[in-house]
Symmetry: C2
Subunit: 329 residues, 2 copies
Amino acid sequence: MNKIRIGIIGYGNLGKSVELGIRQNKDMELVGVFTRREPSTIKTLTEGVKAYSIDEAKNMTDQIDVMVLCGGSMSDMPVQGPLFAGMFNTVDGYDTHAKIPDYFDAVNKNALEAGKVCIISSGWDPGMFSLNRLYAEAILPEGNTYTFWGKGVSQGHSDAIRRIKGVKNAKQYTIPIENAIEAVKKGDSPELTAREKHRRECFVVAEEGADKTQIEHDIKTMPNYFSDYDTEVHFITEEELEKNHSGLPHGGLVIRHGKTGLKGENNHVIEYKLDLDSNPDFTANVLLAYARAAYRLNQEGVSGAKTVVDIAPAYLSNKSGEEIRKSIL
Amino acid sequence: MNKIRIGIIGYGNLGKSVELGIRQNKDMELVGVFTRREPSTIKTLTEGVKAYSIDEAKNMTDQIDVMVLCGGSMSDMPVQGPLFAGMFNTVDGYDTHAKIPDYFDAVNKNALEAGKVCIISSGWDPGMFSLNRLYAEAILPEGNTYTFWGKGVSQGHSDAIRRIKGVKNAKQYTIPIENAIEAVKKGDSPELTAREKHRRECFVVAEEGADKTQIEHDIKTMPNYFSDYDTEVHFITEEELEKNHSGLPHGGLVIRHGKTGLKGENNHVIEYKLDLDSNPDFTANVLLAYARAAYRLNQEGVSGAKTVVDIAPAYLSNKSGEEIRKSIL
């Protein structure tokens, strides 16, 4: 069997997790890593696989079946997504929810022209959580869906703390509020504010001599990021941060409560829950399952931008239809 | 907008739940109920909709877009599934796992000849649980999947108790064992026997003067159904059974634990959990979501037997691709 030849654009946390994830999929092989850094400074973990300048990707369209885009959603993806859609089948985890429609259109145009399949906004949210919101809503039309995130590290919130004067380093955990989850499961259909759904816990390393009271105040009053939440701030040492908070765990749950029956007398709860030691590893593995789908759909002559809701689940599996019906159904 | 015109074959618990489920889906309407009983003895809950003899269905192929098959898997579906696949788009909840491959082939042959889409083995297991087994395995290739059922009423086990001499009525609950679930989530990858995964609780109404010790012995030693499980038997009155055990709740969970990282150092748990007041209502609602998919796929020119893994999730939703990308993704 010919393996699916994978390329990786961007060799940060996510790119490295994609590299490791390929080892778990016997039908895939890594061809190359593409970077904006000086390629000679990068050593991959995969024997015989080297780093290339990102500008070289366009010369390797015949060597790569699917390009996995691992850049940031803020500035990298809006450029790289449409660009590489014109050359390769791609998968990405573009996660700026509000801009997905525009991003979809831009990728779709180039993917159609190039005859490629490009699956955008894969991962877990958007991604698996989106799927579960859709399935649950279709099954229980009369009900409410809630998404909770955490407990897990929010990179955006950690970065925001690091930009405060006097802060040397920081990690921020988003934590769902149990009472809210219980109310949702009971079918109370609560209207929940941001504060009622999640709380925030911050571990901060202050610079020598910094004003900790001022730092705590600056965090708790920061608009959008913290001011709408109950926020706890703990000052710790760099050693403690390294020892106890160096991972990137995350997770969360999608819950839908719905009613059925002659008079809505029957209650139903659908719950999809993730508990992840490594956000980038899990995201990478989702991207790779969709890379398989992109490759197989393109082999069947399909092209254009897709999202997870457009992909029949069987395309993600390396098992045949017969095997799936026999062993999974 | 033309509504999707639904027919129901079989007007038992599931058929009645399908009828109620149609009310929750604004894009569907019920055309008729088809029964083996004398149609004049049946009054539907839907104004203007009547019951027909099942033999009349073949004369109504131009009036029904999707036929929802609500017969039993043991003896009805093996005949009705292939039969109606030759006339209509169909959905069914065929749940004899071991015979799904043969059933698929029989339905597929007739569906292809008739140019219809027939989605088999929908519902929650097989169905939503199958989907979640597939998704979880594709995302975490190195791991183990476990399925637990309950707490819920098993109709097959309740029926088995009712066949015992001296038993007037009975309800049996299948209950998952919490310790086993915890071990799975922790990543212990336990090898679990039937007894270690589930226990069984029986509520039995004995006939006047029956030998209760004998009944309890007959239940607990019944091969396949009870002998491999820890089983509790409670004798109660008919009134208590009616008052406290008349519902058909069910549910369960699919859990996959998997590892990622350079040395498998990162643990991940994916959990999909259902908590259902009414097994038939929930199953019916899943069938209807797949009825929408069957109709739309057939409109696109697709034909043949399908299972839930073959259907892109977007086909289940009454929202457009644009709406999904904007509001669900």
